[in-house]
């Protein structure tokens, strides 16, 4: 289980090639799924098109829960991409993890705190961007003194707390899942008895991890839209 991350310094910036690779793999899978399922589109949807339309409607439902569609429609693409990306990313680390020279190469990209936090921060920064864009500078700062001006410090803290919880929730769930799967795999690889003993919990935990991964993807998008609606609507 002991491992370290590979490192690569390029143009004076340090990269983790494993992360880059896994991000690329995630993007590739999402892109292939999305493009394959939207080929040969028909008025009367069949097969994968149905599935994609279900996802679209699902995300649409999430957005509609938080704001009216006239405001929220512009976040539809963001929401669908986010849910697909996070879900696929969560799934990638489940079947196996690959280490080479004690360096971890194959894992869920979202099991890396930097990536999870970056996604969270991107989302929160986007909420601020759209807040300013849609309410104007004045309207944007007005949200801080509502409903009570003395709550403004809490509102500022909330922004950082949101970012932190959004990212760490995702990271924590996925990372914990992978740790446990790793432990069970080590147990299974150790001895015959261990293999027998590890089969059942490993199966159960993998199933549970799939569930967790899906739930976390949903929660991530849900919270994105909640934060977004706090920034772009005035009635909260």
């Amino acid at each position: 289980m002991e491992h370290e991350n590979p490192e690569l310094v390029l143009f004076g910036i340090s990269f983790n090639p494993a992360n880059i690779m896994m991000l690329f793999v995630t993007c590739l899978i999402v892109f292939i799924i999305a493009v394959l399922s939207t080929r040969r589109m028909q008025m009367k949807p069949t097969g994968m098109q149905n599935f994609m339309e279900w996802i679209m409607d699902f995300v649409k439902g999430i957005i509609k829960n938080n704001m009216d569609w006239k405001t929220g429609g512009r976040f539809h693409v963001l929401g669908i991409t986010l849910i697909m990306f996070v879900f696929v990313a969560n799934m990638l680390g489940l079947p196996f993890s690959i280490q080479w020279d004690h360096k971890l190469w194959w894992k869920s990209p979202t099991a890396d705190p930097v990536i999870a936090m970056t996604l969270a921060a991107t989302v929160v920064i986007l909420t601020h961007y759209y807040g300013v864009k849609m309410l104007g500078i004045k309207g944007y700062f007005k949200t801080y003194i509502q409903p009570m001006p003395f709550l403004a410090p809490l509102k500022v803290i909330e922004e950082f707390a949101n970012t932190l919880t959004l990212g760490l929730r995702l990271y924590g769930n996925i990372f914990a899942g992978e740790i446990l799967i790793g432990l069970l795999a080590t147990l299974a690889a150790g001895s015959f008895g261990g293999f027998i003993g590890a089969i059942l919990p490993a199966l159960a935990w993998q199933g549970f991890s799939i569930f967790i991964g899906a739930i976390q993807a949903f929660i991530f998008v849900m919270l994105t839209m909640v934060y977004m609606s706090h920034k772009v609507t005035t009635d909260h």
Binding site: E7, S14, N19, V35, M56, H76, I80, T81, T122
Partner: protein, 183 residues
């Protein structure tokens, strides 16, 4: 962590911003994540979500149109049905009135026929009565004439002489009339 980074940054200001940040943060992953995600989103928007949303909108529009058309045709058929019903009602009323008229006309015709017949019969009866009366009159006159002749003949026989019919006729006739009245 942030605070530490800033403290570190201020102390290592000489060695450069990036290198000092690199000791704490793998900035590359952050950039890569954002770039990858943004690229993915843009590509998907162009190749997958855009067309899919297009076709979904198109379908929604089609469904809306279909519903509208269905509603329209429903209204049309309703109107047509109403029209037909009104026509039927009118035809029914027409038929009723025609039958009524025919009945009335028949009744009138029957009445008229009866009236005519009755008048005819009355007229014929009158004619017959008139004729009978005339005949009776004629017969009485004839009988009276005969009677006068017979009476004169009888009287002449009794008197034994010729009684002038011309002289006594007026007298006899007067007597007969009186006798007739007395009867």
């Amino acid at each position: 962590m942030f605070l530490d980074t800033f403290v570190l940054l201020s102390s290592n200001a000489d060695s450069g911003f990036l290198s000092s940040l690199n000791q704490r943060l793998n900035l590359g992953d952050i950039i890569a994540t954002v770039v990858f995600f943004t690229l993915l989103m843009l590509l998907l928007k162009k190749f997958a979500w855009g067309p899919l949303m297009g076709i979904m909108d198109q379908r929604a529009e089609m469904i809306a149109n279909e519903i509208e058309a269905a509603e329209q045709s429903r209204l049309d058929s309703q109107k047509l049905l109403e029209e037909q019903r009104a026509l039927l009602k009118e035809a029914h009323a027409n038929a009723q009135s025609i039958v009524e008229n025919a009945k009335k006309q028949g009744e009138a015709q029957r009445e008229e026929l009866i009236q005519t017949t009755r008048a005819e019969v009355g007229r014929m009866k009158d004619n017959a009565a008139l004729e009978i009366a005339t005949e009776k009159e004629k017969a009485i006159a004839a009988v009276r004439e005969e009677f006068v002749s017979l009476s004169i003949m009888a009287a002449s026989k009794v008197l034994g002489k010729e009684v002038s019919e011309e002289d006594n006729r007026a007298l006899i006739e007067e007597t007969i009339v009186k006798a007739g009245e007395g009867r």
